[in-house]
């Protein structure tokens, strides 16, 4: 099947098999390997991206379902300089092995939109679908809180 998808501002038209997952399309067809795969059962959130301004787990979406969609992946988040959320994860040691990080950052950027004073409880609730095996989450919460303030509700 032929699909047309805009990813990080560039429009791609490709032939894909109907069963191709969006995450595999991003990684294997477009070479965007920043989006990670951590599980087979939609639990871990490592594959989270933005699709038409919502965060989605790209392993739960078929590439054909994204036909015509506008996607942002971790590679498209920085705009010249790092996005405040990326900078905050770095500054607050919100990562160790970093495998969960792209998904965490993509979930978190959507989560804090319009909520600069987001509470710890809201952050924990909002990041429930993202697993981290390394950090214990404490620094991730700190990072998200810092970035939320800096993003000022954008």
């Amino acid at each position: 099947m032929q699909i047309t998808i805009t990813v990080n501002g560039t429009t791609h038209t490709r032939d894909v098999e109907p069963r191709t997952l969006l995450v595999d399309f991003l990684r294997d067809h477009l070479g965007l390997t920043g989006t990670n795969i951590g599980c087979d059962t939609s639990q871990c959130g490592a594959c989270t991206i933005h699709m038409d301004s919502q965060s989605v787990k790209s392993c739960t979406v078929l590439a054909v379902q994204a036909d015509g969609a506008d996607l942002t992946t971790i590679e498209g988040l920085a705009n010249g300089s790092l996005h405040p959320m990326q900078q905050a994860f770095w500054d607050n040691h919100g990562l160790q092995c970093g495998y969960c990080t792209p998904g965490m950052i993509m979930s978190a950027t959507k989560l804090v939109e319009g909520n600069p004073g987001i509470s710890e409880a809201e952050i924990r609730h909002g990041l429930e679908g993202n697993i981290c095996r390394c950090t214990g989450y404490q620094n991730i919460v700190k990072a998200v809180q810092q970035a939320a303030g800096e993003m000022g509700g954008d």
């Binding site: 965007l32 920043g34 990670n36 490592a46 971790i74 970093g98 993202n130 950090t135 989450y137």
Partner: protein
Amino acid sequence: MLGKSIFRDDAHGKVTGSALYPGDIEKDHFLHAKLLFTGQPHARMIRMDTAAAEAVPGVVCILKAEDVPVNEHGLVMLDQPVMVGLNSKKPFSDVSRWEGDRAAMIVAETEEAAARARDLIEIEWEQLPVVTSPVEAMRDETIIHGEEPSNVYKHYRIRKGEMAAGWAAADVIVEETYQVPMQEHAYLQPEAGVSYIDEEGRVTVEVAGQWTHEDQTLIAHALDIPKEQVRVIYPAIGGAFGGREDMSVQIVLALASQRLREMGINRPVRIQWTREESVIGHHKRHAVTIHTRWGAAKTGELTAIEVEMILDAGSYNCTSNKVLGNAHLTVAGPYRIPNAHIDSYAVYTNNCPGGAFRGFGAPQGCFVAESQMNKLAIALGIDPVELRLKNVLREGEASITDTPLPAGISIKTVIEQCADKFEEPFSGAQVLPRSFQSLPADPKALRRGRGFACALKNIGFSFGFPERSEAYVELRGRGEIDRVVVRHAGADVGQGAHTAFKQMVAEAVGVPYEKVEGVFSDTAYTGDSGSASASRLTWMTGNAIRGAVEKALTLWKQEERPAVGFFRYQPPPTEMLDDKTGKSNPNITYGYVAEAVDVTVDIETGHITIDRVVCANDVGRAVNPNLIEGQIEGAVVQAFGYAVTENLQSKNGHILNPRFSTYLIPGIRDVPQKVESLIIEEPDPQGPWGVRGMAEMPFIPLAPAITAALYDATGVWFNELPLTPGNVRMRLKNTLVPDLT
């Protein structure tokens, strides 16, 4: 440069998605590989037919046991076949002892073709008795390794003092049986790798591991080629925790590249495991059963302990004999015990192999020692903190191996500081300092409790292992040192090791951090660093770096440009335990830790919440405090998973829940709301700048602190983990908590 929380170097790649993990590496004209697991916990292969698989369009080759030149591997004992199958020169290679044993590696043009071919391989098996209970295995009715006389392949002893006198001196005796479960590492990045022949003709594997040079050695052994013809490179590693010490895809990838070269095909190969393959295909933390008796005088002094410990090694040794050794020693805790009788056994079964996992035997040993201390405290009516302080080892006193611990024992400090810190917010209340009394019960079904535990853990490999770490440091410039390049193999598994290494180089040379560059984790450019495990990496590397810098600076003064210093650090040798008594100097040095927790349990649902954790960890000297806090917070949460949420189920040798949907690692809402790290800096006399290893320690005492808090909350002791809601509820119900309906 030490003591600064330098931002980690690798973070840029990790926050922008440009970091390359093994599964992200892109090469031209990749071939794709799939591994076929036997799926047989115990069976003998009778026939294997690959004809249909080979006929699948796109299949390039299928590798079997007979294709492995030396069909064996293992970190300590070579008891594991690279592949199970027929016509292997290695005896008993036709027997599958683990469902995760490998039967074939399929290399094809596409992943789909490889997967289709895998499904078409036909194997006929003769079923053998599947032994899953270590106690049953000890009867030796079915021998799991044909070449061994018994399934009980390791037995350690401690015989210390006079047991009769010890029991006679005891006013109180606590006798219990404990059962601790397997744990899955669940690093977020499933195993993956690529292999190819590099420009110098070396079989090259890029993979996530913990010890490049050990991977290189085991690949060379299996391929029967000199080590120099094998190259191992670690790209970004998505977590490890001990789970990447053993061989997952390393040898089979190398084998595929070697075969392709013989076939005249010069193309790289890649493999990517699914989560399910990862859980089925690698070792776990050991399940252990321990029966024990501890005696104490009414003044609190321990008088005697007796222990029998059975460790389920699973189907292959991996590092089980070493894990057993650690559990064997830590089961006595950091205490002065005049009379002891300990027997510990490692037993083969057809379960998933046990192996390295953060703590390496100490979580199991410590769960017993600390549970016993907490029970003795209740029985004696002594505050648990005071009871520990009465019994902890001091400099020069005989430890469980009848020799003193290496100098720099800080267990007393960590216990005191942890207890003091924990009490801070309560200082206004009527609670006595350092007392761990019950918190007031909440109405309805919620009960609150408080618990304490401490631990020690060796740093570095033990029992006579020839420990070493090699570093190269190169000073560049003319009059001034402009740039410093450190070359070291040590694996950055996510802990931030490479940032810490560079800080130590900057400190040793006396230049700003920005002037230091690193070349890491590539056997082509680095010396053997030993493993990223056993809380040893910063400690050993620091000592190697200091030596290399000293040499480089000497050459620099002699006007050598660039000045390259190489140093192989070797710590003082250690000893194997004496066969009969266990007497020995088994370890190089130790780290010390204490933890206190407040817990809420809902006695109707069995659901546990950790309200507060204080962890006091002696790190000797903090190289990078933020990285250290990250290790503490992460270790506590992993230990929470071990104690409460993670419940790996296995039946007839098959893991029943190899997915995150059913194996529940802690999520952001499950975890302790607040982990307070107390970084203590009592220098280790042997450590570089006083540094101590630290990354395993915060894992170790959490489980017994939680069970103590549960007792405080409910009056019921829990001797088995995990404390899942179902298990807690069931035990509370069975032990008849008065107001539980």
